[in-house]
Each structure stands twice: as structure tokens, then as C-alpha cells.
């Protein structure tokens, strides 16, 4: 019976052991350490590749890349058409200069 009472007493003392608890204080270098961590974390969040983590920025970059791709595709297809047109000019040019000798019969008149 006595141990039961002892235990009861100990439980009550334990539950009341935080009465009048004093305040713990941070180390004197708390602010300096905080400053260092903030510099690390906040500058790394604006680091070279950190924007990849930002969804909005990623979507904007993706949009720009897509626009550039479509623009270059459009420009390439246009230049292909121009090149095709250019081929016919070359053909005319070739015909002019390398055509059969019959075309130059007049030279034999000398």
C-alpha cells in the first residue's frame, strides 16, 4: 500500500514540476546565425537555376522556348520556299550559259 502512495505522490510532484518554470534564452549569436542562414536561403532562391522551382517562371520560360521554336520553324519553311524559287533561277542561268552548241551557231559565221 505504501509504494502505491509513494507513486501517487511522485506522479503529482512530477506533474507540478514545471510550475514556476524559468525561460530559456537563445544564444547571443542567434541573430548573426539567423542572418547567415537567411543570406544562404534567400540568395540561393534567386540563384542561377532556382527559377526552375518556380512554376510560373518555368511556364513562362517554356512559352518563350515554344514561341522561338515555332518562329524558327516558320522562318525555315519560308526560306525553303525561297530556295525552291532560287533553284528555278539557277536553272535559267545554267540554260543561258551551258546550253547546246546549236544555240551559238552564229559564232561559226566568222
Amino acid at each position: 500500500m505504501k509504494p502505491e502512495k509513494d507513486i501517487e505522490k511522485k506522479i503529482n510532484s512530477t506533474l507540478n514540476s514545471l510550475e514556476g518554470l524559468g525561460k530559456a534564452e537563445v544564444s547571443p549569436f542567434f541573430y548573426s546565425k539567423l542572418e547567415v542562414r537567411m543570406q544562404d536561403e534567400l540568395t540561393s532562391s534567386i540563384g542561377r537555376f532556382a527559377f526552375i522551382g518556380n512554376l510560373r517562371m518555368s511556364m513562362a520560360v517554356l512559352g518563350v522556348v515554344l514561341i522561338l521554336n515555332f518562329a524558327s520553324l516558320f522562318l525555315l519553311s519560308n526560306s525553303d520556299q525561297e530556295t525552291t524559287g532560287g533553284d528555278s533561277d539557277i536553272e535559267l542561268f545554267t540554260q543561258e550559259y551551258f546550253s547546246g552548241t546549236d544555240d551559238y551557231e552564229y559564232l561559226n559565221s566568222y
Binding site: 511522485k10 506522479i11 506533474l15 518554470l21 524559468g22 525561460k23 530559456a24 537563445v26 539567423l34
Partner: protein, 193 residues
């Protein structure tokens, strides 16, 4: 500087205001984290997390609650995040210890905590109490710590936990009952041996 002025200055990213905020609240935030985490190094890191979070999200602060209440809420959240992370690491360490990988598992999981604010004659009892608090469910642990360690009234705890005062009363009642059970088992085991 009033809370309102401080908030406005913080929203304009004033360094002086931030320093004032840290000076004003660092010990309250640290004590809350220390009571929950029961480890001074981790508590200091968690307190830093709190101020970094405040700096980042001060623009979202609508002023519905008091600045101190908002800070206690962040301190509680950050501490609980660390407790959950620690639990996951412990589980992993336990699995490693089964395979003989982590020999330190036993020594780290049974570490006792000495709160620097406890008077000498209560040290032993407080150690047992903190050990029992660690085993409480999260909400009971937070309510009990905010009341007993930080000395917050039930009204303010209810604002921090975004619940009613009667819910806090119920949490405290259950926490006390659970602690009595745990302490009884602890003393029965230790007094008999």
C-alpha cells in the same frame, strides 16, 4: 513600434523592423520550440526557421490574429515538422539497427532532456515529465507545452490551434490523464527495480 507598424515595416522588407521583431520574440519562439523539441540545438534551428518563414510570408499576414499568436502557430508547425522528420529518421535508424548498421540508435532514442528553466530540486521530476510528454499525441503535446512551458492561457492556445477554448480544456484534461498513466508505469517500473 506597435504590432501594426511593425507589420507594415516588415512588409516593406525593413531590416530594422526585422531585427526588432527578432529581439522582441526570439525567446518566446525559442522556448516554444524547445518545449516541443526538447533539444536546444534543434530548437534554435527551428526558431530560425520561424523567423525565415515570417520574413517570407509577412505579405500574406492579414492581421486576423495577433502577431504573437501567428508566431506561436508557425513555431508549433515548424517544431511538429521537425518531430515528424525525426520520427521518420528514427524508424529508418531502427531498421538499420536491426541489420546492425546503426549502433547509436538506442542511445539517441532514450536521451533525457534538462530544461534550463527548471529549478534544481525539480530536475529529476521534470526529466520524467518531459519524457512522458514526448509520448503524447501531437495536439495534446502542443496544448500541454504551450500552457505549462510557455504559460499561455487557454484562450490564446485556442487561437494558436484555431479551435475553441472547450476543445483546449478537453485536450489538457486528456493530456493530464495520459501523463498520469505514463508516469505511473514509469515509476512502477523504476521504484520496483
Amino acid at each position: 513600434m506597435t504590432d501594426q507598424e511593425l507589420i507594415l515595416a516588415l512588409q516593406q522588407k525593413s531590416e530594422t523592423a526585422f531585427r526588432e521583431l527578432v529581439d522582441l520574440y526570439q525567446n518566446r519562439v525559442y522556448n516554444t520550440c524547445l518545449g516541443l523539441l526538447q533539444n536546444d540545438e534543434e530548437a534554435e534551428e527551428a526558431a530560425q526557421d520561424v523567423f525565415i518563414e515570417i520574413y517570407k510570408s509577412i505579405d500574406k499576414f492579414r492581421g486576423d490574429a495577433k502577431l504573437s499568436t501567428w508566431m506561436y502557430r508557425i513555431a508549433t508547425t515548424k517544431s511538429l515538422e521537425r518531430i515528424r522528420k525525426r520520427k521518420t529518421q528514427k524508424r529508418f535508424a531502427f531498421l538499420q539497427s536491426l541489420t546492425g548498421g546503426d549502433q547509436d540508435y538506442e542511445s539517441t532514442s532514450n536521451a533525457t532532456f534538462d530544461h534550463p528553466g527548471v529549478i534544481l530540486e525539480n530536475k529529476e521530476h521534470a526529466q520524467a515529465l518531459f519524457k512522458a510528454i514526448k509520448e503524447l499525441p501531437e495536439s495534446q503535446r502542443v496544448a500541454f507545452t504551450l500552457h505549462k512551458v510557455e504559460g499561455l492561457p487557454y484562450q490564446e492556445i485556442s487561437e494558436v490551434l484555431e479551435t475553441s477554448v472547450s476543445s483546449v480544456e478537453s485536450l489538457m484534461f486528456r493530456a493530464r490523464k495520459n501523463l498520469q498513466k505514463k508516469l505511473k508505469a514509469y515509476y512502477e517500473k523504476n521504484l520496483m527495480t
